[in-house]
């Protein structure tokens, strides 16, 4: 999903910058507010940001298709720090990846933030929220959030390209063409992202449920508290 410079027209990349700003500005405000409320939030955010940086540049080979791709890490970030803060994190991550690692362009940071940080984060977060509302186990909700968020990121990226470049070809057809460039390789990576999201979230919750308000329901919080008392 790292679209490079020279592909999107100035009107297109400027529009994606504007669209991303709609989520980044409230994200910055949310971060400022939560930093004042919780002293642990800043190091937590730093850790999650660096986690997204590593995850989203870690290319894994998929022998079935003969190519490599990477997970995103943004569905997990959206669950633990919120979807708006994830948009801010993603913009920073993509900036550093572009200027130091040759991963994506500078003009396309807005478009890449929109696909990975906003669509990937929000879709994963919504999936998590809906499943938890129906009392789904934590690992299942987190895993599906990772899977959905990963694929949604690439669907959004393909849409961004198709919207700019479809010309006389129908938009949906061009969208499918671009997505088919990602899809076959991304499907197994999305499964890996599901396992990663579930495992990391489970580890965080079992160690410090107090750091993750809103992650556990009232009943789950009591269970975790009892577990902690027994362990201590």
């Amino acid at each position: 999903m790292h679209i490079e410079d020279g592909i999107l027209s100035p009107q297109a990349w400027a529009s994606w910058y504007a669209a991303s700003a709609v989520f980044i500005v409230p994200g910055i405000r949310q971060i400022q507010k939560r930093v004042e409320e919780n002293p642990y939030y800043k190091p937590f955010l730093a850790m999650v940001g660096v986690g997204v940086f590593i995850t989203s540049c870690m290319h894994l080979p998929v022998p079935v298709t003969g190519s490599c791709s990477h997970p995103c890490g943004t569905p997990l970030a959206a669950i633990v720090v919120g979807p708006f803060a994830t948009a801010v994190i993603s913009a920073i991550v993509l900036f550093f990846q572009a200027i130091f690692l040759g991963h994506g362009g500078i003009t396309t940071i807005g478009a890449n933030t929109f696909s990975m940080g906003i669509v990937g984060g929000i879709s994963g977060y919504l999936c998590w929220k809906i499943l938890r509302k129906f009392n789904s186990p934590l690992w299942l909700a987190a895993g599906l959030a990772g899977f959905v968020g990963d694929l949604a990121t690439y669907l959004a990226s393909a849409f961004e390209l198709a919207l700019s470049l479809h010309g006389h070809v129908p938009l949906v057809k061009q969208w499918i063409i671009f997505f088919m460039g990602y899809g076959p390789t991304q499907l197994p990576i999305a499964v890996a992202e599901a396992v990663f999201t579930a495992a990391v979230l489970q580890a965080m919750v079992s160690r410090r449920p107090d750091l993750l308000p809103g992650i556990l329901s009232g009943k789950d919080r009591k269970k975790e508290a009892v577990k902690h008392e027994i362990r201590d």
Binding site: E4, V50, G51, I54, L60, P63, C68, F96, G102, G181
Partner: protein, 118 residues
């Protein structure tokens, strides 16, 4: 973050370095590396390119735009491996540092108890 040091009966200090967390992380790392190695060997033996899908789709888009795409900076040869290694090494240190501060406290207490019992 400080190293856990316990003293045995002969009062020589021992650093507990191969703890359960280290074992778990090494297991995960080796599993992923074995997967990458086997996949790489398979793709190499089947003459697969193993390029990134990002590049493939960017190339596809370039066919439409008729304009060359380019990353902001294109690192030549092994410089890319170097840049990734430096970035991931320090990123790993930052994650590890904060993970230990935020999620490692309970574990540390348990290990301290094990040390005293030993």
């Amino acid at each position: 973050m400080k190293l856990e040091i316990s003293e045995n009966k002969l009062s020589s200090p021992q650093v507990k370095w191969f703890d359960s967390f280290t074992k778990m992380m090494l297991t995960v790392m080796i599993t992923i590396l074995i997967f990458i190695f086997i996949s790489g060997k398979y793709m190499d033996s089947h003459k697969m390119e193993a390029g990134g899908t990002d590049d493939a789709v960017n190339d596809l888009a370039s066919v439409v735009t008729q304009v060359e795409h380019h990353p902001f900076i294109d690192l030549p040869g092994d410089a890319q491996v170097g840049a990734f290694s430096v970035a991931n090494f320090f990123a790993g240190l930052v994650v590890g540092h904060h993970w230990e501060k935020l999620f490692g406290e309970k574990k540390k207490k348990e290990d301290d108890v094990e040390d005293v019992e030993a």
